[in-house]
Symmetry: C2
Subunit: 97 residues, 2 copies
């Protein structure tokens, strides 16, 4: 079963361009190294300032687990800290159809 | 620029299976007929009952416009009414990277 994730990330004012460059590097690694990842797209809210949402799709729960356990994701973890304005909000969703 | 959409759809209690069958038919048509659609995945909330989220990605704003103007999407519109518990909440997001 496909798994969806919507991760909402609020960052500190003025750090948008630097955060986007950082995240784009991570997204490239996800796309290149995770065969079970179907989509991994950073997006920016049109209504809430300094707010990003990552739209993610995995082919199954194992693929999501592989994402969380990947060397590139673990390595990127500490890199988020300088940008964050709060704890990210991560919603997991069960794919249908 | 990639465009993301998260459409939140709340349906009436007990109508889940019938709604899922209806929506799966629409999703199939989107995937088969819209070259600018990158992802169109129905998902179900793990925390909110009777709540679905459609995770959508389009290659650009024109592709999103083509989705809204498509014959299959327009034809499906009235089919949502018997399931809905309220007006769907559609969030548009600007892709980054």
């Amino acid at each position: 079963m496909t798994i969806g994730v919507v991760a909402t990330i609020r960052i500190q004012d003025g750090k948008g361009p630097e955060f986007e460059a950082f995240f784009t590097g991570l997204a490239k690694q996800v796309r290149e190294n995770e065969p079970g990842n179907v989509a991994y797209q950073l997006t920016k809210s049109r209504t809430e300032p300094n707010t990003y949402k990552v739209l993610e799709l995995y082919k199954d729960q194992d693929a999501l687990a592989a994402h969380g356990a990947s060397a590139h994701f673990k390595a990127a973890g500490p890199g988020f800290a300088p940008f964050l304005a709060g704890r990210p909000d991560v919603e997991y969703l069960d794919g249908v159809g």
